[in-house]
Structure formats: C-alpha cells, structure tokens
C-alpha cells in the first residue's frame, strides 16, 4: 500500500501532495458506531445562530440530525437530561503542538521543529506526531474535538501542519481530519533570529525578509518548471518547494507566527509581492494596532486573551486586543499554543469577553463561542463539516456542566462524530495514553 502511494506521489506531484486523504499518508479515521442520542433541555450555543434555551439536539450516524425546541425524540435514542447545562460545538484549537512537543518533554520527543535550517518547508508535523501524548486526552476533557498541529516556529518555514480529530488512535493517520487542506507554518520576528544565534542566518529581521523572498523566488521558478513539465512522471518533486509552491498556488494555507503590527504589515506586502493569501496570523498580539488593515485583507487572527511580556515582541499585548479586532470585522480566533491552555480555551474566551465590559461594551456569548469553534473551522477549511451545531454537520459537541464561560464549567460529555468519548458522570477509567497505562504512580485511581 505504501509503495502504491509513493508511486502515485511521484507520478502526480502537482496535485497528490495536497489534500490529506487523496495524497500520501491518508486519513484512516473511521468513527466508531454510536447509538442515536438526544440531549434535552440544555441551553445551546450553536456558533451559527442565537442562543437557544431548552433545546433538543438529536445525533444520528455521527451527524447532527436535528436541533430545535420540543422535537420528537426517536424511540431508539439514548436520552440525556441537559437541564441546567450548556451545549456548544466541540472546541477547535488552531494552534497546538500536542504530539509533536508531547508530555513527557524528554529530549527524544522534542519532535516539533526541524530547526536545522531557516527553511524546512519539507517537513510535515504529522510525521512527528506521537498519538500517545497524554495531552490529547486532557484536551478532550477540556472539550477540544479538532486540533491543528503545527510544527514549531524557530525558523522562517517550519513545515506543514496537520488537522486532526481529537480521538484516541494508535496512529496519526487514524486521527487525521479527512480531506482537510494542508497548512504551512511560517514565522517572523524574534524566533528565526534567535535560531540564528547558533551560528546561522537570518541574524536580523531584514535577514528574515530576505529569506522569505529568496524562498518564494525559488518556488516561483519551481512552479514554472513543474507546470512546463505538464505533470510528467519524469518531473522530480522537491519536498521543500512543493510546500512553498502550494502556498503560491493557494493549495496550502499560509499560517504565520507574527507578533508585531509592523512585521505583519511587512508580511502582507510579502504576500502581495508573490501573489499569495495569508490565511491567518498567529499570536498577533499587536493586531489591534492594524485592525482595519487585517479586516480589509481578510486575514484571520489567532491569539490569546491577554498573554504578554514573555518576549519583547509580545510587550505591547493588550487585554482588549481580541474584542477590538472582532469589532473591526476581523476573522477572530483564540488559540492555545500550550498543552494546558488548550484544556481551557472557554475560559480564555471569557477573559477576552470580560475586557469588553471594561470599556462598557458587550461581547455576546454567541460571538465569543465562534472564536473557539466556527472561526477556526473556517480558517482550517472544515467549516462545511464541523465548527457549529447545525443539521448535517459532524456531531462534534460538548455538554458543559454550566455556562461555558464560567470558571466552574467542566466538559461533562464530549462527542466526536456522535461518539461519546468523555463522560465525567462515569467512574474514571484507565488513561487512554499507552504511556500512562499501568504506571504504578497512577494506580491510585488518578483522573
């Protein structure tokens, strides 16, 4: 099988390396069969419409079958009482390093950044991702159902990211979100320069820009050669240039780690110079300084509520950043970039909501829930299938014990494709990670 795919990849370099199931290393994810399920009486935030009180949601064949009030419940349904509880779409984290920088953080598992050169666009995060990272289960217990796993940001081009369903699996292929677009991770600012401190270029921000430009000039020439070959089987693909060419022809989404406003504007000009679209800036703690430009250019922003000061380029972060860009019409998202923060993106959203109150404005729950569900789904190109609670979409959802923007809310039940994968009303079971299974220290019924 593997040989077949390799042959195909060599034969069809232009198209085959793109979509996740059609290319090599395809998704093998198949949701387990699940009973017809109805949750009755919860307050529902769909991320697509207004808050719905006393809702009924029916899950069937892995999909959301119906949502409404007073719906007839199929006779064969497993019914849960949602009274006093809240339903939201499953949370989507658009920036995580679970599995590639896993727990335990031992040197032999630091697989998230091939920082041997300023440009390692040839590497794919999925080839590093360790499905046994215990962080996946803890993220799931925080309501996270879909994750974009990105390579690290110490170099200009870190490689390709992978979008996964947060399901237990023995392989990354068993988690890959079917037919999701690939992303490419780029990084500006301090990280690539610090990497240079070990004796390589770039040494400065102007070196960063020169590195980006040279790479895209190479990619343009590569694209021309590839097109001229007419997809001939004799054309030898270059893994690094395949990723860069994918950015240029729009098949691979550019996700750029960038903090400062002036550097984001440089990157926007870079994108114009080479004719590609920037899907999203990540971290972007100074997005509020250029909110109108970001809105006009339709570039998404994935950031935190108010993390700041951990380096100089994050010094001007402000708590009103998220609300300000939302109000300016920017496609706004919250991300974790952390194995602990991913477990509480709902609280991160609440913190960003709260900052609006300080200036006597309001961010509604309907708006805030989109930051961690539908909006990242859109940026990952999977919003047609998940990210909101709507009939026909994947049954990826969370039943919260309370208002999800309360610090006291816990994800009581988490469904992925209709399969109940977290149920806190049941006694704790063995840890899902093989790494933790049977550890003597855990035999005392740890949670």
């Amino acid at each position: 099988m593997r040989l077949t795919w390799l042959a195909l990849a060599l034969a069809l370099p232009a198209s085959v390396l793109q979509a996740q199931t059609k290319g090599p290393y395809p998704s093998t994810y198949q949701p387990a069969p699940a009973p017809v399920t109805a949750i009755v009486g919860a307050t529902l935030l769909s991320a697509a419409g207004p808050q719905l009180e006393n809702s009924v949601i029916i899950l069937q064949d892995g999909k959301i079958q119906a949502i409404g009030q007073g719906l007839a419940i199929p006779a064969n349904a497993v019914v849960f009482d949602g009274k006093g509880k809240w339903l939201t779409p499953g949370i989507i984290d658009i920036h995580s390093h679970l599995g590639v920088f896993p727990s335990p953080g031992v040197p032999s598992l630091r697989d998230g950044n091939e920082k041997t050169a300023k440009n390692t666009a040839e590497v794919w995060a999925e080839h590093s991702m360790w499905p046994q990272d215990p962080g996946f289960e803890q993220a799931r217990r925080g309501g996270v159902t879909t994750i974009a796993i990105l390579p690290g940001s110490a170099n200009l081009f870190g490689g390709r990211g992978v979008t996964v369903k947060n399901v237990p699996s023995v392989s990354v292929q068993g988690m890959k979100f079917p037919d999701a677009a690939y992303s490419a991770k780029m990084a500006c600012g301090e990280n690539p320069i610090n990497y240079a401190a070990r004796g390589n270029d770039p040494f400065t921000r102007m070196g960063n820009m020169a590195g980006f430009r040279s790479a895209f000039i190479d990619a343009q020439a590569y694209l021309e050669r590839r097109n001229a070959s007419g997809n001939s089987s004799s054309f030898k693909p270059d893994l690094k240039l395949e990723t860069l060419a994918g950015i240029l022809n729009g098949e691979i989404d550019a996700h750029i780690h960038c903090y400062r406003a002036d550097e984001m504007l440089q990157m926007i000009d870079l994108a114009k110079e080479f004719g590609f679209k920037i899907k999203a800036f990540h971290h972007a703690t100074e997005a509020y300084k250029i909110a109108d430009v970001l809105a006009k250019e339709q570039i998404g922003i994935a950031t935190w509520a108010d993390r700041w000061g951990f380096k100089l380029e994050a010094y001007d972060s402000v708590p009103l950043n998220v609300a300000a860009i939302e109000w300016a019409g920017v496609h706004t998202m919250l991300h974790s970039d952390s194995a602990t923060l991913i477990q509480r993106l709902n609280i991160e959203a609440a913190m960003a909501m709260a900052s609006a109150k300080r200036v006597n404005k309001t961010i509604s729950r309907e708006e805030a829930i989109r930051w961690i569900t539908l909006n990242p789904a859109k940026s990952l190109g999977i919003a047609d299938r998940t990210g909101s609670l709507e009939p026909g979409k994947m049954a990826d959802l969370v039943l919260w014990s309370a208002d999800p923007f309360s610090v006291y809310a816990v994800a009581e039940k988490v469904y992925i494709d209709g399969v109940l994968l977290v149920d806190r009303t049941q006694a704790a079971t063995a840890p899902e990670s093989d790494f933790l299974l049977g550890q003597p220290a855990l035999e005392a019924n740890n949670d």
Partner: protein, 414 residues
C-alpha cells in the same frame, strides 16, 4: 501644553489622594472574609487609618467617613500571588530586563530577591488589575547548579511598592545536575554545617564547615531555617522525593514547605501528618517529566481533603500574576471548597511568609481589599476597586494607554 497641564494636575490629584488613607464605609457588600467568619451578606466594612476597624450591620459610621453604597458588590482580601517573578522580570529573556536568580555560584541561599525587584516594573500595575495586593516573589535556582535558590520577598503593590525581605529560603531539586543520590546527601551535609555554624559562628573561620566551599552570606541566610524560624521552601514534584524531604525536615526539625508537589496527592496523608504546607498549581495535570507521572487536576482537592494546608499558585511569570484568581476558580471546579481556595490565595501565603497583619477581612487587619462585581474567581467578574493600606489604587496600566492610543472605543472612555 494643555494636555501636559491636565496630566500634571491629574498626577497631583492622584498623589494627594494616595498619601492619606481616608475613613471609609463600604456599605451593603457581600464579604468573603477568608477567616473563620466565612461569608457575610449585606454588611458594612469600615476602614480607618489604613486598617479595617469594624465589620457588621449596625456600625456607628464616623461623621468624617466617606460612605460608599456598594450594593451587589463582593469584597475579598486583596489577593496574594505566591511564586511569581513579579518585579524581577520585565520581559522574559534577554534585554537586561529579566533576573530570575543568582548569576554567581558564590551566592545561593543568600541571594536576596529584594534587590532584584524593580518597583517601576510595568507588570506590577497589571497584577493590581487582577486584584493582587501582595506577591511572594520567589527566585529560581541560579548559577553553578546550586540547589539553594535564595530568599523570597513579600512585595506589596502599593503605588510605591514596599518589600518585606528574607521571608524564607528556597531549595530546588535540580535532579539532572547532581543526581538524587548526591543531592540529598549534600543537603544533609550542608544542613549539618549550618547547625554547627548556628551554634558557633567561629566554625566558619576555623574551617570546620566542610560540606562545600561556603560563603558566609549563604550560611547566615540558612541560620533561621535550621532554627525553625523561617521556612525552607523545597521545590519537588515526585512523591518519593517529597517523602525524602519530609524525613530530612523531621530529622533536622526544619519548617518545610513543598513547592510544586505535582504528585503531592500520593503522599497527602504524610504531608498532613507532618503539618507541611504545599504550594501547588492546580492546573498541572500532565506528566511533563518522569517526576510528574501522577500529575492530576484533583491534586488540590485531594490534598485538602486529606488535611493538608495548601496554597494555590499559577504560572510563575511576572506577567500572569493577576490571573491567580482563575487558578483558584479552576481548583474549585475540581472539588476544592470555595473558602479554602480563597484562603489559598490570601491569608495562607500571608501567614506562611510571616505576616499577621493582612490577608483576611477582619477588624485590625490592614485594609487590603479587592472589590468585585461578582464572584471573584469568574473571568466575567470585574475588579471595581483595590485598596492597599486603605488607599484606593489606580487600576490602569501601560496596556490601557496602548488601548487608548489605538482602539477607538477605549479612547472614547476617556
């Protein structure tokens, strides 16, 4: 010029109002006292001369008191954030703006945080905006693979910050450096030296202290620890290491505190029996390394229910100090009683680090008070005022000025 004048006038006003503590009556408030009184509904807190003079429903209000009707508001003690680099780090990493510990192997236990705190750090105002009135600033172990990290300070976040120095001594495992088989042996040898020195200081000059090449400042810092007058804060996570430390502390009659304690719940009964306080991050639930295989979000609740005195910490970064209330809330979400969580970020750290005059809302305590729009642990709750020594603190930071400069709605609020 007009702007400058307005600015100078506002500074003058701010300064004059902050110099004198007024007599204040905060009426119709709900008070979480963090003391035996628990929660008081619909009551009045009277502040006089920078202290809480009375709490109750039928208080005689002095004629000169400024009366504030705060119906619907919630009062807690000003929060105390434990294990932070607040004041030491302006920006993490480089730029001559971050000191996290000793940079010379010659000084370890004697490293004194008070001199590393910059009272003008912009992070202090941000911490205040999270209701924090005091911070226990704890250094990291420094140069030369030293295990002793130095002496924490209690930083009070007044407009002109005040510092109570040398509140304890911190010791860090650093297992990768010497290895457990060496470092615990070394610790016992060093404590034996300190004991000898405490009895007779001439032991140093006579060359009788042989565990290592000592600096006299390190020895002096450790004397109150060996005498049981100040706590030894030991950073450790693995259950077996905690047991070893308990054993050494019992032998040497040291007042031990465990900081970290990811696997603390596994030895909760022993910790409770020894009366050892444990400082934990309740969100630490991942096996980051082989010392934390049993890390669990239930750590806080399990330790508490076993009778252990716990203190809650968050991230130790200077910038996250104001988020301590959320860590308390997340511990409550995982089974810790609310009152305990509040004590764990107020009175408990105050008492552990030697202060008896603040940390609860009780008559006689300093008027360090946070006023909230609702439940103090909820992110959607706002801090509406923060008093330190009875003085209302400005709740603005450099971040707000950036917001005002760039964000229209923030500018309109001016």
């Amino acid at each position: 010029m007009t702007n400058l004048n307005a600015f100078l006038i506002s500074i003058a006003l701010l300064t004059s109002s902050q110099l004198t503590a007024q007599t204040l009556a905060l009426q119709n408030v709900k008070v979480h006292t963090a003391a035996a009184a628990g929660t008081l509904e619909n009551t009045t807190v009277l502040i006089k001369d920078g202290k809480i003079s009375a709490i109750g429903t039928n208080l005689a209000i002095p004629v000169n008191a400024i009366v504030q009707d705060l119906a619907g508001k919630v009062v807690t003690p000003g929060l105390v954030v434990t294990d932070t680099l607040l004041g030491m780090v302006e920006i993490s990493g480089g730029a001559n703006a971050a000191e996290t510990g000793s940079r010379t192997a010659a000084i370890s236990a004697g490293y004194d945080v008070q001199y590393a705190i910059n009272p003008d750090s912009s992070a202090i105002a941000v911490a205040r905006q999270g209701g924090v009135s005091s911070a226990v600033v704890i250094p990291n172990a420094g140069a030369g693979n030293a295990n002793f990290a130095g002496q924490p300070a209690m930083l009070h976040l007044n407009a002109k910050p005040e510092i109570n120095a040398q509140t304890a001594v911190v010791w860090e495992m650093r297992t990768q450096a010497a290895g457990r088989g060496a470092l615990f042996v070394q610790l016992q040898a060093e404590l034996a030296d300190v004991k000898r020195y405490a009895r007779n200081k001439s032991a140093f000059a006579k060359g009788e202290l042989t565990a290592k090449e000592w600096s006299v400042v390190d020895l002096d810092a450790l004397v109150p620890v060996i005498q049981g007058k100040k706590p030894l804060i030991a950073k450790a996570d693995r259950a077996a290491d905690i047991q070893t430390l308990l054993h050494i502390a019992q032998q040497e009659k040291i007042k031990l505190v465990i900081l970290g304690a990811a696997e603390g719940w596994l030895v909760a009964a022993e910790l409770a029996k020894a009366g050892v306080t444990v400082i934990i991050d309740p969100t630490n639930n991942l096996p980051s390394n082989f010392d934390e295989i049993a890390a669990s979000a239930d750590n806080a609740a399990k330790l508490h229910h076993a009778g252990v005195n716990i203190i809650i910490k968050g991230g130790s970064s200077a910038h996250d100090a104001g988020k301590i209330r959320f860590f308390a809330g997340m511990a409550v979400a995982r089974g810790l009683p609310f009152d305990i969580a509040l004590q764990a970020i107020t009175v408990r750290p105050a008492r552990l680090f030697g202060a008896n005059d603040f940390g609860t809302v009780a008559a006689g305590q300093k008027a360090n008070l946070a006023i909230w729009s609702g439940d103090p642990f909820e992110p959607l709750t706002e801090l509406t005022a923060l008093y330190i020594d009875g003085i209302a603190q400005a709740l603005t930071s450099r971040q707000n000025q950036l917001e005002t400069r760039y964000i229209k709605v923030a500018e309109e609020q001016l």
